[in-house]
Symmetry: C2
Subunit: 342 residues, 2 copies
């Protein structure tokens, strides 16, 4: 079976100038993959060059574009022929196994949800991404789709995250933790406490609370939290990493002597930079839908967007969705049975 990924080529801060070269680069490194480039043909074709004749590449025209700051409601209602919508439609129609967009997050979520629908038993979609840790990486969700979550939503996030990691990393019973604070007497709010109880009873490999520093210590394979906390932590981490790398650069540029030191240290600094290059972690999956929809950073460059395509491809290849759906099916069946006995 061929795996096909639909790409919203018009989305993101840079549009086709990033998405098309990324698609071409992805095809070169994934010889079995097929891509469907969605967008304004006039804008896409000239960027394809020699790849225009590649049999694994198809262009699908879409006349409209969802703006980065456009109202979600308007994008959903009025832009029926946007590149984002058409890419998602291809997933719905079974012509693509996943889609990728660097466009407006709110619109991508709303349109994905409207077109693809939720999996039975999941109330809300969640945004999940991989973060580097001292031991490898961890998957955290939700990262901003849900601002106010109940305990049952955090349970669903735990199940979806665990199934995603099982599918994509071939890791049996990955550990699941819940983000919490550790102070005596004030250990977390009521929602987190109730969610921990549900997770403990869920059959998942639940390890309990993970504090903020536990994220980067790699204490759990999957960390669940509400979208407000997750979004703030993710962005604060990006901001801190940027500040530190900027300061390190400026210290090395202080004078001729430090510049010389930088030259000598360059291979080490480059290896360090590469290890934590956030572009290699680009590509957040919207979980809970009957289809795979991947969100790239809006500001992604070619390397970063290539990684987002790869993320969608890996999720589709590894049948992440089937695994999540199967587990939710079991859970729903169990709940129905419980309902009958009750």
């Amino acid at each position: 079976m061929t795996t096909r990924i639909a790409i919203d080529c018009m989305g993101g801060d840079h549009g086709p100038s990033v998405t098309v070269p990324a698609a071409v680069s992805f095809l070169a490194s994934h010889p079995a993959a097929h891509l469907i480039l969605v967008g304004q043909e006039d804008a896409l074709r000239p960027l394809l060059g020699a790849e225009a004749g590649n049999a694994r590449l198809r262009v699908v025209h879409a006349s409209e574009v969802v703006g980065m700051d456009e109202s979600v409601a308007l994008a959903l209602r009025n832009k029926k022929d946007s590149s984002m919508r058409v890419a998602i439609n291809l997933v719905k129609a079974g012509e693509a196994d996943a889609c990728v967009s660097a466009g407006n997050t709110g619109a991508l979520m709303a349109i994905s949800r409207f077109v693809l629908k939720m999996l039975p038993g999941i109330d809300r979609p969640a945004i999940c991404t991989a973060l580097p840790t001292a031991r490898g990486h961890t998957h955290m969700l939700d990262l901003g789709a849900n601002v106010d979550c109940g305990p049952e939503h955090l349970l669903q996030f735990g199940i979806m995250g665990a199934m995603l990691v099982e599918a994509m990393e071939h890791k049996e019973r990955p550990t699941v933790g819940i983000l919490n604070i550790g102070e005596e007497e004030i250990k977390g709010n009521e929602v987190v406490k109730a969610a921990a109880d549900l997770l403990r009873a869920s059959g998942l490999n639940f390890i309990g609370n993970v504090e903020g520093d536990g994220i980067y210590k790699g204490e759990a394979d999957v960390i669940v939290c509400d979208g407000f906390v997750g979004n703030v932590v993710l962005k604060a981490s990006e901001g801190l990493a940027q500040m530190l790398s900027g300061a390190l650069k400026s210290e090395f540029r202080r004078n001729a002597l430090t510049t010389l030191a930088a030259l000598i240290a360059l291979p080490v600094l480059n290896r360090f930079r590469q290890r934590f290059d956030h572009r290699r972690h680009n590509g957040a999956i919207l979980l809970g839908l009957k289809g795979i929809s991947v969100k790239s950073h809006g500001s992604a460059d070619v390397l970063a967007f290539t990684h987002a395509i790869a993320r969608a491809y890996d999720a589709a290849e590894n049948k992440a969705l089937d695994r999540i759906a199967a587990r939710m099916g079991q859970l729903n069946a169990a709940q129905l049975t419980m309902g009958e006995t009750a």
Copy 2:
């Protein structure tokens, strides 16, 4: 007027072996300061050495110690002669202008609140600390005292934080932001929206939402958030910084060549490390009480604990408390008047 700081010398992971040398070091660099060392005399005296006769140093015996993992309720009820309690009592009695402890956060908060009482108009204490940013530093609160906050609490945090910065940094009308997420359609939860409205009407220099990355970009002088989010962000930042610095070290230790590069880059790396040394930001102030109580990291070393003492001293010297109390007094008076007209 002499400024006197009471130190809980038994608190923290290392107790007197850190707190006493830190006190001695602080006295040497602050020739006008007076310190009161509180704890088991037998444990403190031998560590004083030549400083035992220093007229600016007084030892006050306290027979008990609050354990780092001790129940807050038990510490509050049973340990009436703990070093922590006695140090706080000295503030209450006016014998000290502030106290510092590296002990159990929950106990310090509960005992400070019980002994010192809240300022009129403040419902809950908040933990506030300075964080380094690309432009200097910012003050963030709450960092874990309050897990569930209402809009009026976030307003109070904003007022207290702004007054603290005015007093300690001699900065008129510091900017105040509220931590939020920026996604279209899902901009924050209801509490944050309502708090932003209150802050906008407060007369503070309120600049609106700050996203996670805005903390380290230095977008505001004061950033308010609930204690759950603040605590998670603070600890996640510590964890990320540790992971990055650990990885940088290990890259430089990879082989003989990289070790040589490290030696050459050492002055640069040291300057970088110093700039973001979290020990230099040690010392979080518990705001909202009728007295200054400063919490040091439990794992603080001598340098870090010296900074926590300095933080308490600066807050006392700059009359931070008076400024907060005065502003709350104005606010309370205004609310009373409004109540009468209504």
